[in-house]
Structures are given as structure tokens and as C-alpha cells.
Symmetry: C2
Subunit: 409 residues, 2 copies
């Protein structure tokens, strides 16, 4: 129980000093699965142990070159979890972030949707629903875009603001989205918002939606989240060429040791493959086969095991955050039913201070501001909480310290 | 025995028709290992079968995120085969071609060696020792470079031509090299040539040497090839920042299922990692661990097994090509002691015809001209022979047909 909350200032300071002196090393900074989650995946290690195991269902020898767009069973896996057609999927390497980088980089160097390369256009802008994912924003920042924050609401980005920008300004080339269990707020875009995305009428002919569906199957219970298929909806509206959909197994199996994909319209897949076939002879088909074999039969049980472990940690957070909310005016938090993150708002002007206090006492948090473009939270209040990596005992320790820091700040 | 050679024109035409009617499907087009080679690698499949197998020697959990530059034991592997320092190595994903593309792409978008991005410079040129590797040339072509052919000699590129271009023209930004068992001629750069590379004084401050050491350990016998370390030589000459060295396990273990690397100066590694850390959270460390464990103890035996299989095929080619050389004026061929390719020159103006004849009778060869920039062989005489993929029986069949086509053309 979070009894720490009821301490007075002097007691809080003493507790804080005790933490500092204890030399703890706690980490709630990144969305990493815990060792317990990874230990549930040993079945994946033994999918391919003999040479005869290494052939895909169509006979492709996955040990050799070839198959630029990925093997069929891996396409089927991603098509199913993303609710898209198999032929819209290209299966890629161990990192979907890498594929997103490539899409931006390809559009920059060679142009997308038949338009002039972005490198030859000036004043580039990209929309960043915020709070959002710092690594997304870092990519467009690197390529010289002005990242423009767009407010996030409980059912998705503020679409009036989105439309205002993209319908009037041809320099706005795209928007970053994590449409399900959004990083960090945990909200899932409503069907209405997905439909409004498909109906967008951008001023730029080369406008693209970077739809990072990283948490497609990361529900705490089978009923907790549903997301409409943006690509299907867009095809209905004749706007399919606007969407690049991404996903990976990074938080299903091994982060950095799995497979990823991009799904898009036939035109966009053709564009992507044309450049990809000069970039590489193909991605790792043995990784694809290992994952497809394991996940096409074990996905549900794996995600149920994950949910059991992750949910308990989220609920422990909610318990502490409820108390903080009652005692600290202006303290708010999101309460997702899946995903990897909780978004916390401390009183305005206090987020940096909380993160610094925590850091000095041995608790690493995502830097304050990281969830906004350029690392600049205009109100200095948002903090992303990533509770999955620590054990439950470490998490409780971290939450106590976090609560002390919030109250002290 | 290649008795086919002594047939007269009418007999040749009849034999050719027989091939055509038989509906054969033979392939000597790409440098792919054979099934027999891949079957020797089953030990690699069982390196990691339990969760406790998945930790690197420094304790890193290879199942989770982190370690952007690769695990120590994989760096050690590449440092050893490339004769460079461990700290100069970044271990990457399943494709070194991908890493080469990224170096070019990064220099294009962000600039390399502190210079203006190539995308903001005009009239870009790249040197292409020819005959050379078509996939290299395709990358610089895609980025809008004018690919300039440079003649290949028996000990490396014609360095007088290289110097003439790069010392006088700041638009010449780099050169492609396969310095050992060069694709396709099979020659290895002499120590003198490597030293001359290190001593180059390019007009462009952002000139780079793309040193693709793909066949570093692919010798038919332990004594057959040695290549000086370009990076070490360059460091002596203070020109280390000019070199990007690449390699992979694609032709050691599984093509497309292995690991790759880039090795470079401290400055260049810093530059590469800065962009890489925005591109991805890290490459596949389980693939690294699997390979490092297996190869740090089995490299020699694996390469001896490969050599036994590959050498027999090369020598069968030499047997046929010797006969052709005696009977067809202008027929020439290289005789490498390792690697994956043999370079053949047919009489000038006949390469396209040979490749077409072969294709119509069921033998796929690398397109004539592919070994030159833009697919344009000025003398239409060079053909790349890739004898590794077919079985020995299929290869003999293919060589008979190839001989018929050369004589008919």
C-alpha cells in the first residue's frame, strides 16, 4: 500500500535522503519487456533446429538469398494482426523504427507518391500529436522538418487542428501516429477518428500518415481495445496511398530480435520495394520463419502471459497515481487497458524538477519534455511512465520514490 | 570431360536445339551458396536453445533492447577477419549491402566528414572499377551519381586513372572496391595498391572509399589470398577517415540470415552511430550471439568445408574455359583462388549474344554488361560466371551449354 503519500514535508525529505543514500538503480525510462516476459518465449528458440526446419511453406529455402518482400506465413501473421490484406504487407527486419526511417529517408532522397524529393522542397513540416513518441519526432527532426505539436484528446489527435494544418499548407508532409495504446497516453483512436484520417484532403500531394501500430495485440483483456483498419478505411475513401502502416514483434517476442513490417497500398509497396531491392537482397527469412511458426500458433497464449505480467504493474501504478491525484492538485494520469506506457501530468512547471529529483535518488525516468517535439513540453508537466521493465518489487520501490518526488516538487 | 568443344557448327546447332527442347532450368547468375554448403551449418541452428543461452559474455541480455554498436564477441569476430581493431567495428544486421546503402544515404542527406550533404552538391560522380559488382553501382546510380568506370588490372584498379579523377575533380565523392576475390574478376588487391589507396589525396574533402571485403576468409587453401588492412594502412598515413570497410557472414553462414559490419575510423564510427541511434534501437543481438559463438570456434572448419565444395566447381569451370580459350580466339577468363565468381571475356561484341543464347536454352547467366556502370560494357565482352549454386552435375550441364553458346556466338 502506498502509505508514503500521507507523510509531511519533513518526513518526505528524510525518506528522499534515505533513497539517495541507498544507491538504488531503478529504471522506468523505456518500454522494455521484463525478464519474466522474455523467459516465456523459450519456445521460439527451438523452432528451427534442423536444416529441414528451414523451408517456408512454399518451399523457399530460408537459409539462402531471395524473397525481397518476405515469406508468406510471416505476411499472413502481420496481415492478421493489422487487419490488412496479405499482399499489402512487406515483412522487414528486426526494427520497425528502421523501416519508418527508410520511408522518410526514401521520400527525402527520391520523392514519394510521384512528387519531387523532399530534399528539393523547402520549409518541410511534420505533425506530431503530443504527448507522443520521442523516437518518431527525432527522425523528422533529423531530416530537417519543423515538427509541429498537435494536441492529443481521449479518442485521438485533435482533428480540427490536424485539418487546419494539412488542408492549407502544402509544406506539411505527414503526421506521426501510434493509433492503439498510443505512446505515451495509452489511448486508442476511435473509429470516428480513423475515418476522419481516411477522409483527409491534404494540400500536399505527397502527404503521408505514419501509422505505427506497435501495440496491435497488446490488450490486457481480449475485449480491451479495438482499432479500425486505417488502410481498409482509406481504400474505401480512395486515399490508400496516404497511409504507411508499421508493426513489429518487438513487444510480442524479443525486442530487437524479431521481425517488422510495412503495409501500404499497391502503389506504395511498389515504390518501397523498388528502392528496397537496391538497398538489400532481402531481410532475414529465418527470423521470419521462426516467428511465423511460433506466433501463428501461440500468439494468444503469449499475449495472455504478457498481459498477466504487465497488467499487474500498470495496476500498481494506478494505485499510487490515484492517491497522488487525490493529494496533489493538478496531478493527472492516463489509465490504458494495454500497451507499454502511462502518461502522467504533474502540476505545470514541475515535470523537469520531478525527473531530476528522481534521477538524483537513483530512479531513471524518460526525460521531461521528451514526449513533445524538440523535447519542449510547453507546460512542463508531462512525464512518460514505462513500468514494464522492473520487477514488481522494484516497481513498487520506484513508485514510492516517484510519489515522494512529485510531492516534494 | 568437355568433349563438346570439338564439335563442328552443325553438330553444335543440333546440341543447342536439344538443350532448348529439354526444358532445362540452369542458373549461374548470382553468387549463392549451394544447398550442400548450407547443410554444413546446422550447428549454427542450435547455438541458442535455452533462455540462459541468450546472454553475451559481458552479461547483456541479447533478447532485449540496447547495445547500438553490437556485442563484444561479434565485434571480435569481424575485427579478426578484417584485421582491424575491435573498437573500429559496428556490428549490423543481415545485409552489408544495406549498411553500404546507409553510408551513401547518410552522406547524401546529412553530409559526411563534416561536409555539405551530397544532396546539396551538384554533378556527383563515383568511381566504379569495372568489371565490378552491379549492386554497388546500382546504389550510387539511384542517388544520382554519374558512375565512372575505371579499368581493373591483375593487382587492383588502375591507380593512375583513379588518381587522375580524384585528385582533380572535387565532384568525385568515392570509389567502390571489392579488394579480395573481387566480384567478378577474383583478383585480390596487392599490398602496393592498398598502400596507394591509403596515400590518395582526393580533391573532395568528403571523398570516401567503399571497401567491401565480402570474401575476407573465402580462400580455396589457407595460403591462397592475403589482403593488407586498408584501415590500418590508412591510419598510418593519417587518411583513416577516407575508408568505410564492410563485411558480412552472408557467404560464411546463411545469405541473408547472418550478420554484417562496418569498420571505420573513430570519427566515422561516431558519425555513423549518431544517425544509427535515430534509425534504430539496435540490430539483432541474438543473430550476433548465435554467429559469434559458432564462428569464433568453427570458422576454419566451416570455410574448409565450403572451399572443398566451391573449389571443385571452380576447377570444373577452368577445365571448360581452358578448352574454350584454346579454340576461341579472344576468349579469356580469370582463375581466382577463392571467392564466388569467375570473370569471362568472350570475343568483343558477343557477350549479349552468348547470354541470350544461353537464356533461350534454359541457362540463366548474369546479364551481359551488368559488371559495368549502367549495364554498359563498352566492348560487350564480359560475362560474370557464378558457379557455386548448382550441383556439380548441373554445373557440368551448364558449362556444356555455355561452351556451345560461346562457339555459336
Amino acid at each position: 500500500m502506498p502509505e508514503i503519500i500521507s507523510l509531511n514535508k519533513q518526513q518526505l525529505e528524510k525518506e528522499y535522503e534515505n533513497y539517495k543514500l541507498s544507491g538504488r538503480k531503478l529504471d522506468m525510462s523505456r518500454g522494455k519487456p521484463s525478464a519474466a516476459q522474455l523467459d516465456n518465449l523459450s519456445g521460439l528458440l527451438t523452432q528451427l533446429t534442423k536444416n529441414s526446419d528451414c523451408f517456408a511453406e512454399d518451399g523457399t529455402d530460408c537459409r539462402n538469398y531471395g524473397c525481397i518482400d518476405g515469406i508468406t506465413e510471416a505476411k499472413r501473421f502481420f496481415a492478421k494482426i493489422l487487419d490488412v490484406e496479405e499482399e499489402d504487407v512487406v515483412v522487414c527486419g528486426n526494427s520497425s523504427l528502421n523501416v519508418m526511417f527508410d520511408v522518410i529517408s526514401n521520400a527525402f532522397a527520391f520523392g514519394v507518391r510521384g512528387c519531387l524529393p523532399w530534399s528539393k522542397q523547402g520549409g518541410l513540416k511534420f505533425l506530431c500529436p503530443s504527448p507522443g513518441y520521442d523516437r518518431h519526432f527525432a527522425i523528422t527532426e533529423l531530416f530537417g522538418f519543423k515538427n509541429i505539436p498537435v494536441p492529443m484528446k481521449s479518442d485521438g489527435p485533435d482533428m480540427d487542428v490536424v485539418r487546419k494544418y494539412i488542408e492549407n499548407d502544402p509544406a506539411v508532409k505527414g503526421i506521426w501516429c501510434v493509433p492503439k495504446y498510443s505512446n505515451p497516453t495509452g489511448i486508442t483512436f476511435s473509429d470516428k477518428i480513423v475515418k476522419e484520417f481516411a477522409e483527409l484532403k491534404p494540400a500536399a500531394r505527397d502527404f503521408i500518415v505514419m501509422w505505427d501500430n506497435a501495440y496491435a495485440v497488446h490488450d490486457f483483456s481480449p475485449s480491451s481495445g479495438t482499432l479500425a483498419s486505417a488502410l481498409k478505411e482509406a481504400k474505401k475513401q480512395n486515399s490508400g496511398d496516404m497511409f504507411f502502416v508499421f508493426s513489429s514483434t518487438s513487444k510480442i517476442t524479443w525486442p530487437g530480435g524479431g521481425i517488422s513490417c510495412v503495409a501500404a497500398s499497391a502503389e506504395n509497396i511498389k515504390w518501397f520495394l523498388k528502392i528496397l531491392s537496391i538497398r538489400t537482397i532481402g531481410y532475414d527469412k529465418l527470423a521470419m520463419l521462426r516467428h511465423a511458426r511460433f506466433l501463428n500458433s501461440h500468439l494468444n497464449s503469449v499475449m495472455e502471459e504478457h498481459a498477466k505480467i504487465v497488467k499487474e504493474k500498470f495496476y500498481l501504478c494506478y494505485e499510487y497515481f490515484e492517491k497522488l491525484k487525490r493529494e496533489v492538485a493538478g496531478f493527472e494520469f492516463s489509465r490504458p487497458n494495454g500497451g507499454y506506457f502511462i502518461s502522467v501530468n504533474v502540476p505545470a512547471g514541475r515535470a523537469k524538477k520531478v525527473v531530476n529529483l528522481a534521477s538524483e535518488a537513483g530512479l531513471k525516468l524518460t526525460p521531461a519534455g521528451a514526449t513533445f517535439p524538440g523535447g519542449q513540453d510547453p507546460e512542463d508537466k508531462n512525464i512518460r511512465i514505462a513500468p514494464t521493465y522492473p520487477t514488481l518489487a522494484e516497481l513498487e520501490d520506484a513508485l514510492k520514490l516517484f510519489s515522494i518526488c512529485v510531492k516534494l516538487a
